[in-house]
């Protein structure tokens, strides 16, 4: 520590400098709060791509403000010489390395998130069995909102060693699957055609995206998977419900019995 001369670097700090730095930090914090509140509110009024782009700009703007604040605050506190910088950042590195290892891990992962973009605000992701829409990306963690309106905080540090599934990957195309199980011994081709028609008849279907009806036989009967894209990712619950209801209606009309899937214990 003596070599780094941290004491020397900090000796020039005066109370005025501290006050000035504190004001800068407060202004930056307020700016970040405004950006984090205002931009998602504006994005909420839009739909489609403009909404996704606006949401994705929030963490980038925040990073920009943080970098600008650091570059403005450091010269206020210490003389920006090479020795002083090495001393300050060396001490900071040691502190982060020992005392706040996990926190720093998530901070760095948060920066990687902005660069690699494994998820953006507006994406629908699944991490450790939790599925939801990314509401915000913070410095340390991301917040997702599940389909049942529960907020889950996911530290960015999980990125390093956890599998992450992203359903729409920055676009507004999100494939949904409605599953129905039918009693065997029926005309499979006919049911596939009827299910395909019913997907196209659903007003929530994005008809310019692929529509697929997959079928497989299992112990529990014939399993049909109705795959299609809703108009917007936000429509997924309504879309799957609508497809399931329409499929049930067809089964009733055709006299094909739907069966329940037995409960599976994991």
């Amino acid at each position: 520590m003596g070599d780094l001369d941290i004491k020397g670097a900090l000796s020039s700090i005066t109370s005025e400098a501290l006050l000035e730095a504190a004001i800068l930090v407060v202004i930056a914090s307020l700016l970040i709060i405004v950006v984090q509140k205002l931009v998602p509110a504006v994005a909420g009024k839009l739909s489609g791509k403009p909404r996704l782009y606006l949401l994705a700009s929030v963490p980038l703007l925040r990073l920009l403000i943080i970098i600008l604040t650091i570059t403005m605050v450091v010269p206020v506190l210490v003389e920006p010489s090479f020795e002083n910088m090495v001393a300050i950042f060396g001490a900071l590195g040691l502190a982060l390395g020992f005392a706040f290892k996990d926190y720093a891990n998530s901070l760095i992962a948060g920066i990687v998130t902005l660069y690699e973009m494994p998820y953006r605000p507006g994406d629908w992701i699944e991490v450790n069995g939790q599925y939801g829409e990314v509401r915000s990306i913070g410095t340390r963690a991301a917040e997702i909102v599940t389909l049942d309106d529960t907020v889950i905080v996911i530290p960015h540090g999980l990125l390093w060693n956890t599998l992450l599934a992203n359903s729409n990957d920055g676009t507004d195309n999100l494939m949904c699957v409605a599953e129905v199980y039918l009693d065997p011994n029926h005309d499979v081709a006919c049911m596939q055609l009827l299910f395909r028609d019913t997907i196209y008849a659903c007003p929530l279907t994005k008809t310019h995206q692929p529509v697929i009806v997959a079928v497989s036989a299992g112990d529990t009967g014939m399993k049909y998977r109705l795959k299609a894209y809703p108009l917007e990712p936000r429509d997924q619950t309504r879309f799957i419900s609508d497809l399931t209801a329409r499929a049930a209606e067809i089964c009733a009309a055709e006299g094909v019995r739907m069966i329940s899937r037995p409960l599976m214990l994991h």
């Binding site: 310019h208 108009l231 429509d235």
Partner: protein
């Protein structure tokens, strides 16, 4: 496909072209950006400002009287358009660029194709009363309709409902056309309906034709042609703000200075004849000292020696209808269904959208107040208005609905 010559039919400028050759009229990057920004601002403003979505003129110049409007910007004649379509088809057949037994003319709403095909003189096939016809009855129905002499289907969108039991008629029809088993005929089809069916039947290849988009020069020629029939001479139209000319159409060697109005109108209407015509009618103004709504009696004698003239309000001074803000999916479902089917009754809307009748009535009433939708007299079907169409299309596109390619 058709070269633009001086001999082309003036009521169908640009003629018929292959569907894949259609493209929107060109505009400047600046105007595209401005329009995109305006759309975003409109979305943001929605909900903050009181509902003032209906058509509104923001200038205080007197509008043209009904009689003058009927002379200066009359509705296009369906018979003339039918003749022009037949001429174009004959010329395409002669040039061997179109040799199908069944000719499809796909066009955006309000293009006038439906009326023209109805007036073409061929036997008209009308849709059955029951669009949810049982599968087993469909082949027999088509056998009956397609037998005999040449036929015409003025609007294919009238033959289906987006319902699991309402698609059978068109599935059978397309299968017959693909197998050349439908005889000889002509089919008009709304671009929205077409978009749905080419996605449903990706292997459908029937070489559809479409009307060429109205670019600024085509639009000017067309508007001048419309006025020439009844106005009593070539119409002169100038801008109210700077006096620049819109009509008559520019000629070689003429030294008049022309406004960008025609280009802006063509862009705003995306080359759509019906939309451009509806907006054009709303922009025409009389002189302040001239007759207005009450002065119709004087009109016969007031055609000046150098031809009739009127003024044109800039497009920025018109406030076109806007779609009312709503958080639900109902407005989008209803408007999309109306365009897919070229108009639907309230009962049909319930069937297609799956929405309850009360919700549909509430939304329709709101749309009618906003001049977005109008109800027809005969069967009571609701349709999108030409003035409301640009806003409806943008609204549907921004909310992820599949829109037509026009």
């Amino acid at each position: 496909m058709t070269s633009e010559t001086a001999q082309e039919n003036p009521c169908l400028p640009g003629g018929l072209i292959a569907l894949d050759q259609w493209k929107t009229p060109e505009t400047s990057v600046q105007k595209t950006l401005r329009s995109g920004l305006r759309d975003i601002l409109q979305q943001l403003r929605a909900g903050m400002t009181p509902e003032d979505q209906a058509f509104e003129s923001l200038d205080d110049l007197p509008a043209l009287s009904h009689a003058k409007l009927g002379r200066y910007a009359p509705q296009p004649e369906a018979g003339e358009l039918a003749g022009a379509i037949n001429e174009c088809l004959a010329s395409l057949r002669q040039g061997c660029t179109h040799n199908r037994q069944v000719s499809f003319v796909v066009a955006p709403p309000f293009s006038g194709i439906q009326g023209a095909l109805r007036a073409s003189g061929l036997r008209v096939i009308s849709p059955p009363d029951n669009l949810l016809m049982a599968e087993k009855d469909i082949p027999g129905w088509w056998d009956e309709q397609l037998a005999g002499d040449d036929w015409v289907v003025p609007e294919l969108a009238d033959f289906w409902l987006r319902h699991r039991s309402g698609m059978g008629l068109l599935k059978e029809f397309f299968a017959r056309v693909a197998m050349e088993g439908a005889g000889k005929g002509m089919v008009g089809c709304s671009s929205w309906c077409w978009q749905f069916w080419v996605q449903y039947l990706p292997e459908l290849h029937v070489a559809p034709l479409t009307v060429a988009p109205l670019t600024d020069d085509r639009l000017t020629r067309w508007l001048a042609f419309l006025a020439s029939g009844k106005a009593g001479g070539p119409l002169t139209a100038r801008m109210t703000n700077d006096g620049l000319y819109v009509l008559p159409a520019p000629e070689e060697g003429c030294e008049r200075k022309y406004s960008d109005f025609a280009r802006d109108l063509a862009t705003m209407a995306r080359g759509n004849r019906g939309v451009a015509h509806a907006v054009w009618q709303r922009t025409l103004r009389a002189r302040a000292e001239e007759d207005t709504e009450n002065g119709d009696k004087e009109e016969k004698k007031d055609i000046p020696a150098n031809g009739p003239s009127c003024w044109v309000a800039p497009l920025e001074q018109l406030s076109l209808p806007a779609v009312p803000q709503s958080n639900g999916r109902q407005p989008g479902h209803i408007l999309h269904a109306l365009l897919l089917h070229n108009g639907l009754t309230s009962e049909q809307l319930q069937l297609v959208t799956g929405l309850p009748g009360q919700e549909i009535s509430l939304s329709l009433a709101r749309f009618q107040r906003a001049d977005l939708v109008t109800q027809g007299d005969t069967v009571g079907a609701f349709r999108v208005t030409p003035l409301g169409y640009p806003a409806v299309r943008k609204y549907l596109q921004s909310r992820g609905y599949p829109v037509d390619g026009f």
